[in-house]
C-alpha cells in the first residue's frame, strides 16, 4: 500500500502573512493539531503544532504580553526543518519514519508542492485495516519452521476448509530463530477443525497465545 492511498488531501494551510491568533482559530475550528505554512505556490515553508503555539503564548493573565504575541506572524514560531513524505512512499516505510523520528504528522510533498498530510491516527487506522481487525473473524497464530514451502502448506490447510483469510502477518519467533510465527485472521467463528488439520500437519497452533499459559 502506498501513501497516496491513505493520505488526507484536504489540507488546511496558512501563509506567512497569518498571525499566531489565526493559527489558534484554525486549529480549534478544524479540530486539528498541526497546520502547514505554505507560500503562494503551495510550497511548504514550515509547520506549526498546537504545542508550538502553547509554548510561545504567555498565560491569559498576562493580557498585554499575550496580545503582542498573538499578533506576531506565524512564521516566527514555525518549525522549518521538516521531515516530509512522497505520495509513492510505502506505508511501511512511512510507519518506520513515524517510529524513528517520534513525529505525529507527516506532510506529503510532490514537485515541491504540498499535496497531502498523514497523521498518526490515519496510520493506525490503516494498520488496523491491514490486520483485518475491522471485520468479524478469529485470530490464530501458527508456529512454523523457518523454511521455504511451509507457508504454502499452511494455506492449503486453510483452503481445504474453505475458510476466507482476512489478513496474514509473518514475524520471526523471538525465542527461536529457526521458527517464525504466522498470524492469521480468518472469517470463521469455528476454527476448531482447521486447527486440528494444522496440528495434524505438524504445526503448532496458538489460539489464544498468552505467555505462561497452555491452551487446551
Amino acid at each position: 500500500m502506498i501513501v497516496e492511498e491513505i493520505m488526507n488531501t484536504d489540507v488546511s494551510t496558512l501563509t506567512k502573512e497569518h498571525t499566531i491568533a489565526d493559527a489558534i482559530h484554525l486549529l480549534s475550528e478544524k479540530r486539528i493539531r498541526h497546520v502547514p505554512i505554505v507560500d503562494g505556490d503551495n510550497q511548504l515553508l514550515g509547520i506549526v503544532s498546537d504545542r508550538d503555539i502553547k509554548d510561545a503564548t504567555p498565560s491569559i493573565l498576562d493580557i498585554e504580553g499575550r496580545k503582542e504575541v498573538l499578533n506576531r506572524s506565524i512564521s516566527t514560531i514555525m518549525t522549518t526543518n521538516i521531515i516530509t513524505g512522497h505520495p509513492l512512499d510505502f506505508v511501511e516505510e512511512v510507519s518506520a519514519i513515524f517510529y524513528d523520528s517520534k513525529i505525529s504528522c507527516l506532510p506529503i510533498v510532490q514537485d515541491h508542492k504540498l499535496v497531502g498530510i498523514i497523521t498518526q491516527t490515519d496510520l493506525l487506522h490503516t494498520l488496523v485495516e491491514l490486520t483485518g481487525a475491522h471485520q468479524p473473524g478469529s485470530q490464530l497464530e501458527v508456529r512454523v519452521p523457518n523454511k521455504p514451502g511451509k507457508l504454502f502448506k499452511v494455506f492449503s490447510c486453510i483452503q481445504n476448509r474453505k475458510v476466507n483469510i482476512l489478513s496474514v502477518l509473518v514475524y520471526p519467533d523471538k525465542k527461536d530463530e529457526f521458527y517464525k510465527v504466522i498470524v492469521l485472521r480468518i472469517q470463521t467463528m469455528n476454527p476448531l477443525r482447521l486447527i486440528e488439520d494444522l496440528e495434524n500437519s505438524g504445526f503448532e497452533v496458538l489460539w489464544p497465545n498468552l505467555p505462561g499459559m497452555e491452551a487446551e
Binding site: 468479524p136 485472521r185 469455528n190 498468552l210
Partner: protein, 387 residues
Amino acid sequence: MRDSIFIFSEDQLKYKFNNNHPFNQLRLKLTLDLLEKINAISKEDIIPPRMASDEELQLVHDPHYVTAVKKAGNGELSEDMAESYGLGTEDTPIFPNMHEASSLLVGGTLTAVDYVMSGKVKHALNLGGGLHHGFRGKASGFCIYNDSSVAIKYIQQKYNAKVLYIDTDAHHGDGVQWAFYDEPDVCTFSIHETGRYLFPGTGNINERGQGKGYGYSFNIPVDAFTEDDSWLDAYRTSVKEIAEFFKPDVILTQNGADAHYLDPLTHLSATMRIYREIPKLAHEIAHQYCDGRWIAVGGGGYDIWRVVPRAWSLIWLEMTENNNCYGPLPADWLDAWQDKSPVKLPSEWDDPADLYDPIPRKAEITEKNAQTVEKALYPIRNKAGHE
C-alpha cells in the same frame, strides 16, 4: 396469573445447518426435558413461537438480504451471490427452508416481547433466540436473522420503550451493538472474551456508540482464562451501574452459555456458578427498574450436553423463583440422554471444585479485568461525580 412463559415448539429445531455443525438446537429439548423432569414447568407455561413477517424482519434487515435467504433455502441462490451475503460458508451453510426456520426464531422473540410488553406476563424466555451476530445484510457467526435486533426495533416502534440489552455470551454481541450504535434510547452492554483471538474481534472498551448514541454502548472484554469471581465481579458491577444510569423500561438479556470452561469454542474458565448469578441479577434489575419486564433469549453454547441444559434451566428457575436446583440432577433425565451423549453427563447441578487445574496467571488476569471495568464505566462514573 402466571408470571413467566417459556417459548418453545419442535419446529425451532429446524434451524439446523448440518450434523457436524457446532450450533445444535437439540439443546432446547435437553433443557426443556430437564425442567419437565424436575416438575418445574407445565404445559400451560409453554407458548409456541409465531413466524416473523417480512415487514418485521425488515425493521433491521435489508430486503435484498431477506430475498437472498429465501432463495438460498429453495436452492436458487448462486454461489457468488451467497458468498456476498455470508451464506454458504462453513459458519452459516445453506439448508432447506432456512428462511422459514430463521423467521421462526425471530418470531419467538417477538412472541416473548408481546406477552411481556402487553402486560400479560412479567418475564418471557425464548431460548431459540439470541442470534446476536446477524447483520443488516449479512449472515455471520452461525446467525442468519438477528432476533434481538428485530425485537428491540419492534419494542421501540410498537411500545415506545427504552431497552437495555445485556449480552453475556462469550462472544461480543456485535450485530446488536452496530444495529443501535447511534441511538440513545437503546443501551447495549456486552461482556465477552477479548477479541484479540476470539471471533468476532470487536467489543473493545472504546466502542461507546456514535453521534446521539455516544455513551450508550458498553463493552467489557475480559481476558482469556477468566474465572468465576473475576467474571462475576465485572458483570455485577457494570450491570448495576449501567441500569442505574440508563433506567430502562424493559431489559432483554442474551444468555449465550459458551463462557463455560468446557465450551469448545472459547477460552474462558467460568463454571455453573456464573449461570446461577446471571439471571439472578437480571431478575432483580427487571423488578427494580422495569416493573418486572424481562425478555430472555438463548445464544451460543456449544457443549450442549454438559453445560447448556443446566445453564439454561437456571434462567427459567430464576424467573419462576424455583429453588429446586441443587444437588444431583434427576436420574430419569440422565438415563434418558446418557446413551445419546458422546461425553459423560454431569451428575450434579453445580460443577465439581476440581473442574480444571489452577490458572497460573490468575492474579494478573483478575487485576486486568478490574481495570477494564473501570475504564468501561469511566464516563458514567465521572458524570455522576459532577452532578
